[in-house]
């Protein structure tokens, strides 16, 4: 092989340039972003739930990045305004997701605030939506003959309820739901926030 040294230098230079533009420059850009006013740090329970969110693989089918109105009607779906960098200030790592097999969850706490609803839905999504393709998570729950004090009994329609006893939520399920309920970014984004401005023409809504 000829000219080994120039070739290696060129290859490294191209990699360095890409790193500069795609990693270092954006990092500098968002490093100084303060959390969006109104954003709260996670509680211990919500953080445990966040671990469940990762462990159960929710991220494979659910995104956490609503788009602006000129890219998709996410706001009209109730998924919330387009997210900005500072909305993820307490997310390390972020859970943006890449697929929308299910709906975006960045504002699921505002759209579906009920703990009871989420517990039923996690235990058996098809108890609510007959057409749902979401997996059920029955192992986050257990069947008991009688609910003990402090147990959270989940509500099930008659055809899904156990013949005997009750279904109660395990701690993992309660943590996960606490995390889902905390996903509420309905406060306004700061005007100067770092965000995707899309390609909307002047005068179009965004």
């Amino acid at each position: 092989m000829n000219r080994m040294v120039p070739l290696a230098i060129l290859a490294l230079a191209i990699l360095a340039f890409a790193t500069l533009m795609l990693v270092i420059a954006p990092a500098i850009q968002i490093r100084s972003e303060a959390p969006t006013p109104g954003l709260k740090p996670y509680t211990a329970q919500q953080l445990r739930g966040r671990t469940q969110y990762v462990a159960q693989g929710c991220i494979y089918c659910h995104s956490q990045q609503p788009r602006s109105i000129d890219q998709a009607p996410d706001a009209e779906r109730g998924w919330g305004r387009a997210s900005v960098a500072s909305d993820y200030a307490y997310d390390r790592p972020h859970l943006l997701g890449t697929m929308r097999t299910g709906p975006d969850l960045f504002n699921v706490g505002a759209r579906l605030p009920s703990r009871g609803w989420h517990l039923t839905h996690l235990y058996q999504p098809r108890a609510i939506f007959g057409w749902s393709i979401m997996p059920a998570y029955p192992y986050l729950f257990e069947r008991k003959e009688h609910a003990e004090p402090g147990d959270v009994v989940i509500i099930l329609p008659a055809d899904r309820a156990p013949k005997k006893g009750v279904i109660v939520a395990k701690r993992e399920a309660l943590d996960l739901v606490a995390y889902l309920q905390s996903l509420d970014h309905t406060f306004p984004a700061p005007t100067r926030a770092v965000r995707d401005d899309g390609y909307a023409e002047k005068g179009e809504p965004r």
Binding site: E76, R77, G78, N107, R111, P113, G116, G130, T191, D197
Partner: protein, 396 residues
């Protein structure tokens, strides 16, 4: 040298390839700059939009026309037997704090103006008017109708606003006179008959559920305010709520969650829940959030667009879209995500239960931008005041 190492002779890059490379690079730089402009334009537009919505630049007279004149009339004469006059009203002649507190909390009870007594049903404007708006409006109204010119400051409004969130509407003139300004003279007391008796069965259904389904309040909130796609229920007509629950059972209105809930409710439960929410009063937590054009929205809501066969919302849903019982729900202070979703549902057929199927046709004639404009504008209106049917529970 035993083996020959093959090598390529130096050949320059062909000219067309060079030209393409340079062209691509130029295109990249141009796109970068062009996109940079989009960012600047986007930011400027967004700050304008926010400035328009939050620091409404209307002056006092314009605010009066758009917010007050529908009921109190442009000349402040009110409507005999229904809406108290503003002209020479003792409430305006009193200290400016009285008008401010009334705007922030609304009135829900009898008041005496001049020689007449009115059953007061004024909405709270706390969610609608900024501190500066209230200062301008109070100054204009008191100057015009009561010839009083002492001033209110934005600081006064900000302080009062903190308290306004915690207390409900003023329970009639007597409470206002006692708490704010004794110079208002004798005011009628709040009669016990108009104070709604809270139905304990409905309250339990709403806050704890019936054991077979989730509690209403777990999604719609303890005060029936809703959020995002979950509708506000506070102040909707009782018969309307009961009808919707019934329609979920028959499938004329489809929503998986609500259909599951409604199937566990007996018809009398539905009526109880309707009655319970119809007399509930809660501050608005709705905000324009779909990027809709609020000016266009206001025109569609107040005047409609007859060129496209769109009647105004107020022609059926009543002045200020506060609803007309039993069939037409209040639209004001509703969450724009919910309003827009319903307008879409009438087109797609998942909802087919409006009176005379009126909404199917109207929704079909709204385009995307108009739908967002209407939904956003309705979210900026004050919440419905307590209905006149208050106290007459279980009458339907």
């Amino acid at each position: 040298m035993e083996s020959f190492e093959p090598y390529e002779e130096f050949k320059p890059i062909p000219l067309p390839v060079l030209i393409i490379a340079v062209a691509l690079a130029l295109w990249g730089v141009f796109t970068l700059l062009d996109n940079g402009k989009a960012v600047t334009v986007g930011r400027a537009e967004r700050s304008d939009q926010i400035a328009d919505q939050h620091a409404n630049r209307q002056n006092g007279a314009e605010l009066f026309v758009s917010r007050c004149a529908t009921c109190h009339q442009p000349n402040g004469s009110g409507v005999e037997g229904a809406i108290p006059p503003l002209a020479s009203s003792p409430f305006l002649k009193a200290s400016p704090e009285v008008a401010m507190h009334i705007l922030l909390n609304g009135i829900d009870g009898p008041i005496r103006v001049g020689d007449a007594t009115f059953e007061g049903h004024m909405p709270s404007f706390a969610s609608v008017l900024s501190d500066a708006d209230i200062v301008r409006l109070v100054t204009h109204v008191r100057g015009t109708f009561a010839d009083r010119h002492d001033l209110l400051t934005e600081g006064d409004v900000a302080t009062a606003r903190l308290l306004a969130g915690r207390r409900g509407a003023w329970q009639g003139g007597q409470e206002i006179a006692a708490r704010l300004d004794a110079s208002l003279g004798p005011q009628p007391p709040m009669s016990s008959a108009t104070q709604a008796a809270i139905d304990p069965i409905a309250q339990k259904l709403v806050s704890q559920g019936n054991g077979q389904t989730w509690a209403c309040a777990s999604c719609h909130g303890m005060r029936g305010q809703g959020s995002a796609s979950v509708p506000r229920l506070a102040g909707l007509p009782a018969a309307y709520i009961a009808k919707q629950l019934g329609d979920y059972v028959t499938g004329k209105r489809r929503n998986e969650t609500m259909q599951l809930v409604a199937r566990t409710l007996k018809p009398q439960d539905m009526r109880r829940i309707g009655d319970y929410y119809s007399v509930m009063r809660a501050p608005s937590n709705a905000r324009a959030s779909l990027g809709g054009d609020l000016v266009r929205g206001e025109r569609l809501v107040l005047d409609g667009d007859w060129a496209r066969g769109l009647p105004s919302c107020v022609s059926c849903h009543g002045p200020s879209t506060f609803g007309v019982a039993p069939s037409f729900p209040a639209l004001s202070a509703q969450h724009p995500e919910y309003t827009a979703a319903q307008l879409t549902a009438w087109v797609s057929g998942t909802r087919d239960n409006s009176t005379g199927r009126l909404m199917n046709g109207i929704a079909a004639r709204l385009n995307d931008a108009d739908r967002r404009a209407v939904a956003d504008y309705l979210a900026t209106l004050p919440p419905v005041p307590a209905p006149a049917t208050r106290g007459r529970t279980n009458g339907k």
